[in-house]
Symmetry: C2
Subunit: 169 residues, 2 copies
């Protein structure tokens, strides 16, 4: 099993979805005449990440996942974004990194030992990492971005979350 | 590629996580002295599913995904739950259904043509269905259950969302 198909194209597609939600928020802010960057600090609970950190985390997961599986260095980001414009730029930077991956980069990664930075001495296999940790965590933060925007009135629906699906006749 | 490992055990694990969040909500309600079933209709936006329907949808996805991949009939549920007790029972029923699956039931399902009820004449492959639609959709509703409870003060954290991961020394 090559983990490329389960990760790289789907992470990129989802990042492009998130980028579109930010654009919907910008349109909504323009209609309602408020500065869109007011949403940067919005959160659903006082002890939960605000929108800006949810987006940063989505971007980080999208680079960590194939980066760890392929053992390929990822671009560093300083987590200093304070505007929607900067968040778009961060998403674009990660999309550019994802475009550098080929299917062969993830050859054998299902059986590879993957460690996490906060448990360096322990490991799980690549397929366990993707299935049980990486994808659930990625969709967790992605959904929280969506939910924070929805909670603040941005008109989004399930189709915006999923994006296009490859239906054939 | 057999899709069993990507779906059945992980869907079951996540359902058990959701069941625990409901128990945390029950404990919180007892401490704060409110009827826990007050949370059944809670939602994050007026045009979004409330908690009860998020849980019903999580349960439905958990049976639809392996059911469609294996072509195996799933138990019907009438969506009539109005209490946490009934939601626990629904989760338990789906867990029992998931326990009937063997790895061999999903043999060849990555290439199988999968249609969706609202687009019966169209199809995608099993791997496309799992990667691009089924798992993102499952985690979407799962995260919304979590987010609705968090927004209402239930003390949950990321570890509760992910559940245990199979780390080895």
């Amino acid at each position: 099993m090559n983990l490329f198909e389960l990760t790289v194209p789907q992470l990129a597609k989802t990042l492009r979805n998130v980028d579109r939600w930010l654009k919907s928020a910008e349109q909504y802010a323009e209609q309602r005449k408020f500065p869109v960057d007011n949403l940067i600090g919005a959160r659903l609970a006082p002890d939960q990440y605000p929108l800006v950190r949810q987006i940063q985390t989505v971007c980080d997961n999208a680079k960590f996942i194939p980066g760890r599986l392929a053992g390929k260095e990822w671009p560093a980001h300083a987590d200093t974004e304070t505007t929607f414009e900067q968040l778009h730029a961060r998403i674009t930077a990660v999309l550019t990194y994802l475009e550098t991956f080929k299917t062969s980069d993830l050859e054998g990664s299902a059986e590879k030992k993957i460690s996490l930075p906060w448990m360096q001495s322990k490991w799980m296999t690549g397929i366990e990492y993707v299935t049980q940790f990486a994808l659930p965590n990625f969709y967790f933060h992605t959904t929280l971005c969506y939910a924070i925007l929805r909670h603040n009135g941005v008109p989004l629906g399930k189709n915006d979350f999923i994006g296009g699906i490859p239906m054939r006749d």
